[in-house]
Symmetry: C2
Subunit: 812 residues, 2 copies
Amino acid sequence: MNPTSLHSLADEPIYGGTPWSLREERWDEAVLGRSESLFALANGHIGMRANLDEGEPHGIPGTYLNGFYETRPLPHAEAGYGYPEDGQTIVNVTNGKVIRLLVDDEPFDLRYGTVIRHTRELDLRAGLLRREVEWTSPAGQTVIVRTTRLVSFVQRAVAAICFEVEPVSEGAQVVLQSELVTNEPMPAQSKDPRAAAALAAPLVGEEHSCYDYRGVLVHRLRASGLRMAAGMDHELGSPGRIDTSIEAWGDIARLTAATELKAGETMRLTKYLAYGWSSRRSMPSVRDQVIAALAAARSTGWDELVADQRAYLDDYWSHADIEIDGDDELQRAVRFAQFQTLQAAARAERRGIGAKGLTGPGYDGHAFWDSETYILPVLTYTVPKAAGDAIRWRHSTLDRARTRAQELGLKGAAFPWRTISGEECSGYWPAGTAAFHLAADIAAAAERYRTMTGDAEFEREIGLELLVETARMWQSLGHHDHEGDFRIDGVTGPDEYSAIADNNTFTNLMAQRNLRWAAAAVERHPDLAALLDVSHDEVTAWLTAADHMLIPFDDHLQIYQQASNFTHHEVWDFEATPADHYPLMLHHPYFELYRTQVIKQADLVLALYLCGDHFTPEEKERNFAYYEAITVRDSSLSATVQAIIAAEVGHLELAYDYFAETALIDFEDLAGNTTDGLHVASMAGAWLTAVAGFGGMRDHEGELSFSPRLPPALDRLAFKLHVRGTSLRVEIRQSGVTYTLLEGEELELTHEGERVVVTADVPKHRELRSLPNVAPALQPAGRAPIPRAEHHRLSQQALSAHAHAESGTSEH
Amino acid sequence: MNPTSLHSLADEPIYGGTPWSLREERWDEAVLGRSESLFALANGHIGMRANLDEGEPHGIPGTYLNGFYETRPLPHAEAGYGYPEDGQTIVNVTNGKVIRLLVDDEPFDLRYGTVIRHTRELDLRAGLLRREVEWTSPAGQTVIVRTTRLVSFVQRAVAAICFEVEPVSEGAQVVLQSELVTNEPMPAQSKDPRAAAALAAPLVGEEHSCYDYRGVLVHRLRASGLRMAAGMDHELGSPGRIDTSIEAWGDIARLTAATELKAGETMRLTKYLAYGWSSRRSMPSVRDQVIAALAAARSTGWDELVADQRAYLDDYWSHADIEIDGDDELQRAVRFAQFQTLQAAARAERRGIGAKGLTGPGYDGHAFWDSETYILPVLTYTVPKAAGDAIRWRHSTLDRARTRAQELGLKGAAFPWRTISGEECSGYWPAGTAAFHLAADIAAAAERYRTMTGDAEFEREIGLELLVETARMWQSLGHHDHEGDFRIDGVTGPDEYSAIADNNTFTNLMAQRNLRWAAAAVERHPDLAALLDVSHDEVTAWLTAADHMLIPFDDHLQIYQQASNFTHHEVWDFEATPADHYPLMLHHPYFELYRTQVIKQADLVLALYLCGDHFTPEEKERNFAYYEAITVRDSSLSATVQAIIAAEVGHLELAYDYFAETALIDFEDLAGNTTDGLHVASMAGAWLTAVAGFGGMRDHEGELSFSPRLPPALDRLAFKLHVRGTSLRVEIRQSGVTYTLLEGEELELTHEGERVVVTADVPKHRELRSLPNVAPALQPAGRAPIPRAEHHRLSQQALSAHAHAESGTSEH
C-alpha cells in the first residue's frame, strides 16, 4: 500500500455498523484497548473483554466474574481513624477466550504477515460478537478465520465460542490450541490513579484436571481467599483426521487439535466455557458446579445457545427498544448503550453493578452511587428484575453498612462510597465516605422500584429496612440549629470539585425525601417497623427534620446554592485555563478546586431533575443558567443530567449535543479512558436522556409524568417502559406524542400536567407543548459540548491525537 | 529487696532536682524512652538523646544532625495533583555516645546484676549531663561509673564525654570500648502514624579510617544523597598500663582500652566527637572538616570545653532567666523548658527548628508553624540571633515556596506545612497544605524580629521579600465577593479538628496584618520593592483586601466565629465521650470532627492573643468562655494559649493550671509520647505563659506592653527580655511590678495602657491592676486541666499506667 491509500483509509471511521450492530471496520492497533471494551460481552455475572481469540496483541487482557475480587492494602501517607486499610480490586480471572492458531507452523498474529480484512460486529439483537479475518502469513499462506462469541444471558455460568478456519488458495496444516490461562501477565499500571491497580499473579492453583476434550482449573485468591473454577469443553469438526491432545497444569489447560485442510475446507472448533466462584463453598463444590455447567452447555449445544440468546434479546427489545429517526449514529449508539446496560446487570443477581460493568478493570471494578442513580432507573423500566436484584445486593451489605455507621459515629447504615463486597474501599474520604447522598440515592432507587414495578414483596422483604436504616443515618448526621433548621454539615455532594460542605442542596433535598419515605413505609408496615424498633418518636423526629431541612439560597443572586456559602466563593478563572488543563483534577490541586466556583458534574442541576417537584419552572431556568456557566463536565456523569434539564428548560439543541456526548462517549473515547472499560452510567444516561430528557418522563412520588419534546434534528423518538406489570410505548413526533399500552389493561399517567388514562389498544395522542424562548445557556469558556454535527470530524481528530498521546488521562 | 521497699520506692518521684537541674533519681526501665528525651543534649546543630553510654537497653537510639534527612516515598491510596510524592525523615546518624565497659569479662548492663545507685542530672547552668552508677555485676564485682556529657554551644560541631570507672571493694580488669556505630538497629515503628517512619540502614559507607586514638566514618544517605562524617578522638588515663587498639570498618569504629584497676582506682576516658554533613561538599571536604573539629576540640581540652559551656550559659541566663517564687517544681520546669528551647535553636544557623528539636524522631523531625508562632517569639526576646537565623532559614527556602505556590495556582510563596529542607512533606493536605496561616505566622515572626531586635540589616536582607511574597500569596488566595468583602475560602486554621473552612478568623486577621506589614515595608524600601516588581497598584490591592477582610461574627451568640458557619454546627457530645476516647483523632474520623463544634487547639483564642488589639476586653471574655467550653486540648499547642488568654481575661487559677500543663508536659508525659521527643513548642510555651500570660506582655505593631498579674499561689515572677539591644527585667509581686533596665539607656513600654519610659538604673514601679470578677470558665466534660496541686499525684498514677500501656497514643 502506498501512503496515499493509507491516509484515505485512516480518514474512514473505524467504527460503523447498522442500527442494530456496532462494527469495527478494519484492523488498527491504536484502538485495540478501546475495542476490547466496546465489543466486550457480559451477562452481569461473567464479563469478557474483546481480546483477540489468539491472545495477542492485547490492550488489557480481561475476564471478570462479578463480585470476585482480591484485597490489597490501601497505603496512607498519614493514616487516620476509620480509613479503610484494605482495598478490593476486580481481578482478571482465568482466560477461556484463548484459541491460538498455527498455520503451517506460523502463529496467527495480526502484527505479522498481512491483514487483508478484519471486521468485528457486535450484533445487538443476536447478542453475539462475530469476527472475520483474512490474513496472509509471513510465509504467504492466506487463511480466513471466522469466530463467533457469546456470553449467555440464559445459562448464567456459560460462554461459548465458535471458531472456524479456512485456507484460501492452497491447503495448509492447521493446529488449534484452545486454552484456559490463569495469571496472564498484565500491562504496566497506568499513572492515572483511577485505573485499577495491577495485581501480579493473584491466583493460587488448587486443582487442575483434564478429561477427553475438557479441562478444568480451580484457583483461590491469595489475599481475599475467594475461590473460582473455570472449565472448557469442546466439539471439533474437520473434513480430515484431527489429532488432539488435552493437558492441564497449574495455570494452564490446553486442548491441541491438528488437521490438514485443503483450500476452501473449514475446520471448526466449538468451545464451551463455564465459570463459578464462591467465598464459602468447598473446592469440590465449585469445581463440580463448573463441570455441570459445561455438561449443560454441551447438552444445549451451540445452535441452541445462539437461539436462546436471540430469544432472550427479542423479549428484551420488544419491551425496551428506543427508536430514533433522523440520526442513525445516535440510533445505533443508544441501542448499544441499552445493550451494555443490560450486559452489566442482567444476571448480576445480588451482586453490585460496577462503574465499568464487566468490561474493564477501571475503578477497580467498584460500584458507586451511579449504580443507583443512573443505572437502576433504566433497569427499573426495562429489566425490573435486574433492578430488584441490584437493590437486594445493597440490602445484603446492610450489616457492613451498620458497622461502618458506628465507626463514623452515626446511627443506621452508612453505605460505602466504592466497593465490591460492601466494605468501604475509598482511599480519600472527602470525596468518598463524606458523600452521604449515596444513602438517599439508594433509598430513591428502592422507592422508584417499589412504586413503578408493583413488586409486592419488595418492601416487606427489604425496602422498609433500607428506608429505616438510611433515615436513621440522616437523623443522626444532621442536627437542628438554634433557629430550628435541620442542617447536614460537612458532607460532599455529587460535584467532586467541592467537598466537606455544609448543606449541600442535592443532599439535603434527597435526605428530606428519604426521611419522608421511611416514615410513610413505617406507616404502611407498623408490624415490621416494630421489629426494627422504630418508635413513634423516631418517626416524628424524621418528619420534623424533613420539614425543617435547610436549603441554602442566595438572596442576592436569587438562586439556590449548591451548598451553604458556595455562591460566595470565587468563580474559577475559566478564561485563563488552557484546554489541556482539563480534566482539572489532573492539573490542579483539590485545594484550589474545592474553594472556588467550578463544578465537575451536575449537582444542583441533578437536584433540579431528581427533586424537580421542589422547583418552579422559572427557578429551573434561572438555576440551570447559573450552574451551566460553571460546570466543566470533567465527569462523564454530568452531560446526561445537563441534557435532561436543558431539555426541560427549553434548550433543545444543547440537550441534543449533550445527548450525543453521553451516547458517544465510548465510541469516540471522549473521556480518553475507554480502554479501562465502558462508562456504564453514561450508557444508562443515553436512555435517561432519551426518556427523561426528550420524553420529559418523571416519576416523583410514584407518579408517572411526561413532557415530551423533540430536538429539531429528529423526526421521531419512541421508547417503551415496563410500568407496574404493563408495557407502555411512547412515540414522539414533532406533530405530537402517542401513548400506547402494549401489555396490561390500564395505566394512568400525566401529560404536561394533564391526567391521562391509557387503556389496552386505545392509544392516546397529545400535542407537544410549545416551548417558551429562552436565552441561550452558556458554558465555561472552552467547555461547550461538541455540536452534534461536528462529532464525527472531531472524533477522527481525537483518534489521531490519541495514537500519539498517553491514554488514561480522563475520568468517570 | 522485699516487695514493701520496692513499693515505697515506686511512690517516690523518679524526677526531681534543684531549681537549676533536673535529676533522674533512680533506675526504672519503664521511663527509659522518656528520660532519653528529657535528658537529651543538643546545640541546634547536633542532638543526642540520653541513651545510656553502654548502648543498651535503649528506648530509641538517637543522634541527629539538624537538616540531615533521608527521603522516602509518600504512599497515597488515591493520588491527587500536587500531593508530595516524597517525604523527608530525620535519621539516626552515626552514634558516638557508645562507650561499652567490661568488668572482669562481664558487660556493664543495668538489666543484669544489681543497680545500687543510678542518678542522672541535667545541669542547666553548666550545660552538662552527669551520670553516676554504682553497680554490682552478676559475678559480684561492684564498680562506680561516672560520666559527664556535653554538646558544645561554643564549638558547634563538637560533643564530648568524660567517662570514669572505679572498682569499689576489690580490683578488677576493666575494658572500655569507645565506638562510632552507624545504622543501629531501630525499634519497631509505632502504630501511631505520627511517630517517625523507621528507616532501616539508610546510611551507605563511603570511607572509614583510624589513626592513633582517632576513628572517622563517612556515610551517605541512600535516597537523599546527603553526606555525613563522624569522628572520635580520645584521651586515656589510668594508674596502670593501658593496652589499646583502634579499628574501623564500614559501620563501626572502635577504640579498645584495657587496664587493671585496684579498688578505689579510676580509669578515665575522655571522648571528643565531631560531626559534619553537607548536601554539596565532597567526601574529603566533609571528612576533613570533622578531623579538624576533633583537633580543635582536643586542643581546647575537656576542662576548657566545660568552662566555655558554662560561660555561654551564664551569659544566656543573665539575659533570659525566669524566676518563680512559690512553686519550686514549676521554677525548675520553666528553666528546663528555656534550656531545651535554647538547645533546639542556639546553633541551628539557618536550619529549621523541628517540633521535637533534636531530641527524638517524632514528626519525622519536621518543622511546623509552631516554630514561628511559639518558639521564635521566645528566641526573639532571649537569643535574638537564633531567631534571626531561623527566619533566614525560612527565607532560604523561598524558591521552593514560590514553586509550590505556582503548583497550587497561587502567586507569591506557599511555605510547606511540614518539612526539613523546604519541600512540602504533608501527606494529608486538608490538615497540611490548606493551613495557609503559616504564611502569616512567618510574616509575624519576621515583623516581631524586626521591631523588637533592632537588626538594621534584616528587612533589606530578607524581611521585605518575605513580606512581599506572603502578601502576594494572600492577595491571590482571597477574593472580593459581590459585597466587596475579602474572603479567604477553603483553608484550615490552627484547630485541626476543623478543616477546609471559609474565612477562618485567625487566618483572616493574620492575613490582614501580613498585607499591611508588606505595604508598610514597601513604603520603607521603595528601591528594593521595585526590584521585586512591586507596583503601586499591587500595594493598593493589598491594603484594599486588608481593609475589607471578612471576619465572621455570629449575631445571635454575639461571638466571633472560628470560621464562617462554625457556630451553626452541632456541638460535639462531650458528655457521651468516654475519657479513653481522647485524643479524639485516634478514636473518631476526621469526618465527624470537622463537621461539629469541637476544637483540638486554640484557634479563635489564638487570635485573641496574637491579634489582641482587634478585640475589646469584653469580647475577649465572652469569646474565651464560648471557645473554652468546646476546646479539648488534644494538641500540646493549646494549653499555652488558653493560659495566656485565661490570664488576660482574669481566670488566674485556670491560667496557672494551664501553665503547669504546658511546663510539665514532658516531665509527666502528659501527651503519652515524650519518648518520641520533647514538645519544644510547649517548652517555648512555658516561657510564653510566664511572660505573655502572667506578664501580660504584648508586642502588637512593635509596641511593647505589659499587663502583669500573678496567680495566687506565686509570690514573685521575674523575667528578662532582650529588646532592641537593651536588656529589660520585669519583676512581678502581688504588691506590684518593677521594670528595670539591665543594659541599654532607655526603653519605652506600656504598662496597663500607661506609657512608661524605663532608663538605665532607674527602675519603674507600678501597682498591679485589680482584676474584675469573672464567671468561671468551663471546659468540656472531663477536659478541665489537672489542678496544679494534683499534678504530682496524677503524674505518678499515669506512670504506673504507662508501664502497662502502649506508648505513643497522643499528640503534638
